[in-house]
Symmetry: C2
Subunit: 212 residues, 2 copies
DNA sequence: ACCTGAACACCGTTCAAGT
DNA sequence: ACCTGAACACCGTTCAAGT
């Protein structure tokens, strides 16, 4: 019945680092980010709290592992002959889809530091794919930073409000604010941002090509 | 020497809700967001942890009070005859300046739910100022949502990386990523976004005015 | 190598008690 | 009304001990 081995005497579960992140993500999606604690995760895995430390250095390391797990869900960044507008749109839409799929865990990925071990390599590959699409290194860096800022902020707030039980207790005092965020808005903002970046950063700066 | 009254016998400090938020913000800016706990704040104010509960219902309520305190630092949204581009730019630049001034506390404001008691009224007034500048209610709602998403995400990540001691341990593995974020980039992104929104949302949709 | 219980220094908050 | 200490149910993590 359980996908996990029967525990023979004490606990011969043979936990792995991946078991931790799988259980952690399931727990977060089921009960929210605050529910993720070492002790809570241990009871979830039917082991002692200290057993987790065999597979993970600390709580921060656990979160790094979760972020790494989440990044694996994103398709690896690569260029397939598209324009830079198409690559960036595809990249950001994948990001958006992950936020929809795992709204509670998404925040861990979105706010993970750029220089953390799971994020840095993924970011490097993303920048590289932007450059292959014809952007200069400087353009790629700036456009990624700006687009990532937009997606991070929009999607975190969206995910929080789509998950947290909307209280509606101030909805009356703030007419027109309810539903300030919806996903179509994300796509519209993305369109606007890409169009604006093309105008001000790509076409604008160097006297580069007028047509892609 | 201390701006606070000498404590006579026990503690005749006459704490107020504002004393709590002032001390909380100072503590957060000095030692980071994680340092803000009821017990820690109490020692900061030289009172018993439970004394705080006279002025604040709970930790969440304390955070609401801090957010309210931060919003007061922003100039109240109003329209002074500018174009919508100028109002939105002015609004977002004030938001940016607050992030620069109080990088550690900023996150509390940026991630406070739209429908929380301190945020909702401020948001309503902001939407109203956008409408006075000529946007339709629907345009104002969308443009605020998108711009706020951009500013929230960009500035939170910027504030975190500008404060947290940059480890530089993965800087080598991620060439071109170090310094992915700087404040000039925020302004460039804002320019691009406003230009793009004008193209795709304001000029684009209804057959409205061609010139502001 | 992997798992564990006891212990330490934290945390938010309830409750009953003091002024 | 305002402040307080003791107590409860949590938390991450160290350490010494088991297999």
């Amino acid at each position: 019945m359980a996908p996990r081995q029967e525990l023979s005497q004490k606990n011969r579960n043979k936990l792995s680092r991946r078991d931790l992140t799988t259980a952690a993500i399931a727990l977060i999606e089921r009960e929210g980010l605050d529910a993720l604690s070492m002790r809570r995760l241990a009871t979830e895995l039917e082991c002692a709290p200290m057993s987790l430390y065999t597979h993970v250095r600390s709580r921060d390391d656990l979160i790094d592992a979760v972020v790494e797990h989440l990044i694996e869900q994103l398709a690896p960044p690569e260029w397939s002959g598209e324009s830079w507008q198409q690559v960036t749109r595809r990249t950001l839409e994948a990001y958006r889809d992950l936020a929809v799929q795992m709204p509670n865990s998404f925040e861990l990925l979105a706010l993970a530091p750029y220089d953390s071990s799971p994020v840095a390599p993924h970011l490097s590959r993303t920048v590289a794919s932007f450059e292959q699409a014809g952007l200069t290194p400087e353009q790629a860096r700036q456009i990624l930073g700006i687009l990532d800022g937009y997606a991070t902020g929009f999607l975190i707030v969206w995910a929080r409000s789509s998950t947290r039980g909307r209280s509606d207790e101030y909805a009356a005092t703030a007419p027109g604010i309810a539903g300030l965020r919806d996903l179509e808005m994300f796509d519209r903002g993305l369109d606007a941002l890409i169009a604006g970046l093309d105008l001000t950063l790509v076409r604008g700066t160097d006297g580069g090509e007028v047509l892609a």
